[in-house]
Symmetry: C2
Amino acid sequence: MVVDRARRLDLVFHALAHPARRAMIRQLSMAGAGGERNLSELAAPLRMSFPAASKHVRVLEGARLVRRRIVGREHRCRLHAAPLRDATRWTEQFRRNWEARFRALDALLEEMQSGEANPHGHPRPQRR
Amino acid sequence: MVVDRARRLDLVFHALAHPARRAMIRQLSMAGAGGERNLSELAAPLRMSFPAASKHVRVLEGARLVRRRIVGREHRCRLHAAPLRDATRWTEQFRRNWEARFRALDALLEEMQSGEANPHGHPRPQRR
DNA sequence: GGTATATTAAACCAAATGGTTGTTGATCGA
DNA sequence: TCGATCAACAACCATTTGGTTTAATATACC
């Protein structure tokens, strides 16, 4: 099944949009690279039934944020960081662009204030 | 109404988890700092009814990613980057930690391979 | 005033989400 | 082999999400 970039981002952001799932990611992150937690360990701190926690893990798997390795009766989960990087890249792309333009506007205002003294009598554009 | 940090992140990530809303953010980002788009402009490229688009804008507002200024009959929207930064910070926090540990593991493996020649006969641990 | 434009509101709908309980199956340890 | 443990599965439920259509409201234009 082919899942395109956009759909992939949907899944990752959706996975991150629930505190229980973020808590799981946090816990797996603490485990370090190659570190693993089985489902019980992930579910334990979560104030919800085991099946509920299990479903959250599946959501994380669907977003490819977590991979599962079955060893005996335990399902060992580990974090997979790549989709997290994709998500970050997406947000950064627009955040940086946006903030860069804001800095450019700041610079322009600075220049207009100090260099010339508002020579054409235009009212200075205001932010906020 | 007080909305705590965790809940705020829920809202932001949820807002980012739909392609229509990401498209709106992209469009507003193109508009530059201080740039605005009214609802019709945001809705136009979206292959859905106007009311549907309007609801998406509300979701973005709820996440404080967009602010609305009503001018006459037009509702002018502008991007607000701060929550985007919060979201990025969250993901970066764990991604970096995780990748740093992975690099450390790589370095260790490197050292074991070149320095000693696998002296204890342990099978080399494999990643992937 | 009358008409077009921009947007909200209301009612409705299907599907997804997030949770529960109860049951089943596999595996580990004594 | 027996009991405890780890986890899936199924069925069910309430709420949210994402969409629609139709109607209402406020503003701009002629």
